[in-house]
Symmetry: C2
Subunit: 344 residues, 2 copies
């Protein structure tokens, strides 16, 4: 019998950050597709849209008017999923019915006054302003006593549920640590307790040696397709220095981060020749006053497209009931991305 | 200050089956929507489609010809994510890079020879034939030594990644227990160890008393919106008798199951006046030769539509990075569904 081959045979891969597995089916990209095709979003947007509630000077649903901002702009979401001044309390019926009130703040961050840009189309200097604002928001929100986690993220593209094409991201800050960072907290703490090194520092070392899944790097950051990637062209951005959260980023690191984000988003847009949809988000230590020495700052990019600008990967039946499943291997995806990176 | 109100204030709910939480934002359904609208699939299909690879008598991509089947039909997926005869093996590089080969079988189950039907449009007697086939498949696959979990599921609707509208479901059987049933195995075993009763039996008792989230029931099964539901109109079908897997279903229970599936799918189609998309799947005990006395057979329905036939809930940025979030409460969803159930 042939020997097991990662590039040929179905297998499971372990995600040490969550402790969970993903099913990889390398042979499967050949199956025929008669399913849903996404509409290609029309990409000609005006630089200013009078009906957009994020453009400078416009009035939002709440009746508030945006300032005539020239770089970035942040405001509390008028329809936030989390709210600040709600009463504390719990609802419990028996052992198995348990709810707890949850306080928090949802903010919207406009990346640019220009309605027609994306991160990939902004200059490094302008991306740097977004990074600066993330840092400022993190500092401000984490200083609130009742905030124990700050989730910074972006949904890009209508296929990713983005309800307005104006370039923007969000920050949701809340009293409890959400499920995904909670898993990463446990896994990284365990690893640190055993090795006195961060899990991601060790992982990064391995990947830099192997050079099979690395996409692009600079002095401060590495972008790679993680061995356990779920989404077809998923990547992770890892800081070379081991630090816990964006509040600790130096000026030089913020420049490095801006550059690597630009390189990555520009590369993504080349994969299928369209503005590449994704959800991305920063994972960092909880702001609960604990130390978290094992936590290692990183950012995830989860893009849904699989074969073309119009065919995405569906995480549905088996994936919802069983576990995530992917078709092309992370190594193949990394090769595609690496081949499209511009010399930086 | 007002007191905490489940119907008003953002809160978290605990899912005892997985040990994870969901964020509920009852006030949030009011936000404006400028995002993606799904195309309404055209619903006039012929009873027989000569180009469909699932219709009776047609030839599949593999070159094989379907029989002229009159009820249900099952075959091994020509492009299965899992394969049988692959070599065992592992790939390990350092501590943090781990893969293992995974053996399995993927089958496709045609629910009906009619290209134009859905479960909701089939007679109870014909749904019963699908249930019979699920039972038969479970028995056959679980008898294979190397199969330790059998996942039965259906993706319905192009919005759920269904690549062919002919009514069909799938069975993926494999050597390891996937992530979701593994969580449920742990949680149910723990509960059983403490209470000597099944978690879902106790939960069902509570819900039948409260009557707030129950949608429909008969002698053998109850459909309800679980307290911890993630998807807007998510439901769970729980057997009144505590048994572990579909292999143990009696004839009367199979009739009851068929009836309740019909009632539920017919109800779903009434919510927005369209054939309601969803992914559904059966969770049951692993077929690993262990006892699993705590396991309690159930079926999940995860439908994505939120506000209309064309606006779905996106599980994206915050949900991917943090945890699932929902807008309408499970109680409100249950009221809608209950109001649409036909007298059975
Ligand atoms: O097997 P199908 O119908 O071709 O494919 C569909 O269901 C599978 C199992 O949930 C998913 O992995 C695919 O992403 C989805 O498109
Ligand atoms: O906040 P938005 O852009 O209106 O909404 C989008 O992002 C949110 C956070 O990931 C999700 O909960 C919504 O389902 C999605 O449509």
């Amino acid at each position: 019998m042939a020997t097991f081959d990662l590039a040929e045979h179905p297998h499971r891969r372990f995600n040490p950050l969550t402790g969970e597995w993903v099913l990889v089916s390398p042979h499967r990209s050949k199956r025929p597709w008669q399913g849903q095709q996404e509409e290609q979003p029309h990409d000609s947007r005006p630089a200013y849209d009078p009906t957009c509630y994020l453009c400078p000077g416009n009035t939002r649903a709440s009746g508030e008017q945006n300032p005539a901002y020239a770089t970035t702009f942040v405001f509390n979401n008028d329809f936030g999923a989390l709210q600040d001044g709600i009463p504390e309390g719990a609802y419990v019926a028996g052992d198995l019915i348990r709810a707890e009130s949850e306080r928090g703040i949802c903010r919207v961050i406009c990346f640019s006054p220009r309605h027609d840009l994306t991160l990939a189309e902004m200059s490094t200097a302008d991306i740097r302003k977004v990074v600066d604002l993330w840092q400022k928001e993190y500092a401000e929100l984490s200083s609130l006593d009742y905030i124990n986690y700050v989730q910074i993220f972006e949904n890009k593209g209508s296929i990713m549920g983005c309800s307005n094409p104006h370039p923007h991201g969000q920050v949701w800050a809340q009293s409890t640590v959400p499920v995904e960072p909670a898993k990463e907290t446990t896994q990284q703490a365990q690893y640190f307790a055993h090795h006195s090194r961060s899990l991601l520092a060790d992982y990064l070392q391995l990947e830099l040696k192997l050079q099979e899944r690395v996409v692009v790097e600079n002095e401060h950051f590495v972008v790679l397709v993680p061995f356990w990637a779920v989404w077809p062209f998923e990547t992770i951005v890892i800081s070379k220095r081991h630090f816990q959260h964006i509040g600790q980023m130096t000026d030089a690191e913020k420049d490095g981060f801006s550059k690597v984000l630009q390189a990555l988003t520009v590369t993504y847009d080349r994969v299928f020749g369209v503005s590449f949809p994704y959800s991305c988000g920063i994972h960092q230590s909880p702001t609960d006053g604990q130390e978290h020495p094992g936590w290692h700052f990183h950012m995830h990019f989860y893009p849904p497209l699989l074969r073309s600008a119009t065919v995405k990967k569906f995480m549905v039946g088996y994936e919802m009931m069983g576990n995530p499943q992917r078709d092309i291997t992370p190594e193949a995806a990394a090769r595609v991305l690496r081949g499209l990176v511009e010399a930086t």
